[in-house]
């Protein structure tokens, strides 16, 4: 080792930052939650919600002699339906437990029928349309317009494309808030913070070591998750890499500042955990990680849009999926930046070293 590198290694900021890495990488659970878990979740969701050829919708026909046989035959001709004849009680049971989407009860006259289904279930409403179509055609209906179907599956519109930016945002939030919150409160509880300020250590460098380590770990975090999503599922990256990098950087800083704020007074790990969950839970629900935030009522929207994770998720989706430019991203970046400044200013004011 040359003198120069030795001197650099013994710089307090380098030493403090090394401590952060060591504490992180020597805790297998933390490594799992930050690096492995998001990839597993992406893989699971990507596979579960993959776009596939639509399955045949199961329907039941109540057994009523010859009439039911001809109905089953007519339905069997539709490529989208799977029809079976059942006694009335068994059919009702199958409908109730969701094994069939709809029950056809052939009428006394051959040109009548009854559909039993739950109009709240989307697949039942679809089954109603398909069954009716098949029966009407079998009875000789002629369609006045000739149509042809062509199926498309476009990257960017699938569920996995929607969920990956959400998972990335959620991960940035989790590792920022947990990463800082636990480490600081644990050091306070152990009187280690007090011991550190009894040395000539610069307090700014102490805090800077958290920022530095977060930013370097961030690179791995983002590269692993985005890389996996792109390679395994072909999730698109339509925006510039620069915009993705800036959004991730700013988000990581903002959540780190929020973590610092939450950890500024707490004396026990239990106390800070409660506080962190209280802050993160609304964002897991409202900020559009797994489903769009627009599903919530309009009255809630101003609150939802002001949450940092909503801004992060929206910005990531706009950049990755829509290739949005800086002008489009400006409002979200503004919200994330405002959270950063506000949390940091408050944290510095409230922070207790002992």
């Amino acid at each position: 080792m040359t003198n120069e590198t030795r001197r650099l290694r013994d710089h307090p900021l380098v030493q403090l930052t090394l401590v952060r890495y060591r504490e992180f990488f020597r805790e297998p659970e933390a490594v799992f939650w930050v690096f492995v878990f998001p990839v597993l979740l992406t893989a699971g969701l990507g596979i579960a919600f993959r776009n596939q050829a639509p399955e045949r919708t199961p329907v039941a026909v109540v057994e009523r002699g010859a009439a039911s046989a001809s109905v089953v035959e007519a339905l069997a001709r539709s490529p989208d339906l799977l029809a079976s004849a059942l006694p009335e009680a068994a059919a009702a049971d199958a409908l109730r437990t969701g094994r069939v989407a709809l029950v056809v009860v052939p009428g006394a006259a051959s040109d009548t029928a009854e559909y039993r289904f739950d109009s709240e279930r989307p697949e039942s409403r679809i089954a109603r349309l398909l069954v009716d179509d098949a029966l009407q055609r079998a009875a000789g209906r002629r369609d006045p317009i000739g149509v042809a179907d062509r199926r498309v599956s476009e990257p960017g519109s699938r569920y996995v494309d929607f969920v990956v930016p959400g998972l990335l945002g959620m991960n940035l939030m989790g590792s920022g808030i947990w990463g800082l919150g636990f480490a600081i409160v644990d050091a306070r509880r152990k009187k280690l913070l007090k011991r550190l300020i009894a040395t000539p250590m610069s307090r700014v460098q102490f805090l800077a070591s958290f920022v530095l380590s977060r930013l370097t770990l961030l690179v791995i975090e983002v590269a692993v998750l985005v890389g996996f999503a792109v390679l395994a599922f072909g999730v698109p990256l339509r925006g510039s890499v620069a915009s993705l990098v800036i959004i991730c950087l700013l988000s990581a800083l903002s959540f780190a500042a929020l973590g610092l704020l939450l950890a500024s007074r707490a004396r026990t790990v239990e106390g800070v955990s409660g506080l962190m969950n209280l802050v993160m839970l609304p964002m897991w629900i409202f900020s559009g990680v797994f489903f769009s935030a627009s599903r919530f009522p309009d009255a809630l929207q101003p609150f939802i849009q002001a949450l940092p994770l909503t801004a992060v998720n929206d910005a990531l989706r706009a950049s990755m999926l829509e290739g949005a430019g800086w002008a489009r991203l400006a409002p979200e970046i503004g919200i994330i930046g405002a959270w950063l400044l506000l949390s940091f200013a408050l944290a510095v004011r409230l922070f207790r070293w002992r």
Partner: protein, 314 residues
Amino acid sequence: MTGPASSAPSLLVRGLRKRYADVVAVDGLDLEIRAGECFGLLGPNGAGKTTTIEICEGLTEPDEGEVLVLGRRWGEHDRELRELLGISLQETQFSEKLTVEETVRLFRSFYRQGPSADEVIGTVQLQEKRAGRVGQLSGGQRQRLALACALVGDPALLFLDEPTTGLDPQSRRQLWDLIERFKADGRAILLTTHYMEEAERLCDQVAIVDHGRQIALGTPRELVASLSAEHVVEFAASPGVPVSEDGLRQVDGVEAAVRRDDTYRVRVAELHRTVPALLAELRRQGVQLTELRTHSATLEDVFVELTGRHLRDQ
């Protein structure tokens, strides 16, 4: 200002007071420690030792009083003072995931000058554990790590809050040697301990405090001499026959008699006169002795006498 030739005290405390919500932790304390001196702060639990030490370390704000550390005041020369002080707090847990060497290296990096991390690890004899995780150290090894972290800045004044609690006799002796060498270099130490033989052995000056107030000050020898009776007779009696303490006090030459469970402690001026009389009195009371010991009065006897409590039983 910090050299051995300097005559200014390394630490000067005047009229120190610190109140917490429901207790007065420090109630008008004066201290003076000179270079080359080891000063022992003794007192029962809750006496205010840690509070006093932490005020001197600039970690706690006093309500009243003056603190002059190496000629400087907190609030004016903090950064400079931090470079000059070595501190071991009563309870610090270092990060369990770091190794001994990494921890010492971290603390070393904060100071402009001082011995290398390796040297300090050698000084506290943790070489074998250098690469071991802090989480796997024994209690005494952790204490030595705390000491190493106090020494990395080559301090002129060392604050040690119960540095030998939990150390085995060997390690304690090693620490004593270290303190002796430290003193010989003309540096100063403020030490708290619950081990009286340690204070007697190491400290040039001892202050006994209770309820935040100083109740005795002097060299260990002076304090022991201040007891008019310099010998202690201890005996245990078989249970059943109660010993009358008043009867004991009536014996000629007995200065004080206290009972603890089945053991009695009697302070006497002259063994050769009083012990026979004492035995005669016990025989008269019909007491069956199971044990009999005598020793010269120690700092511990002074302590028990002054604070009315037995330190290690707290």
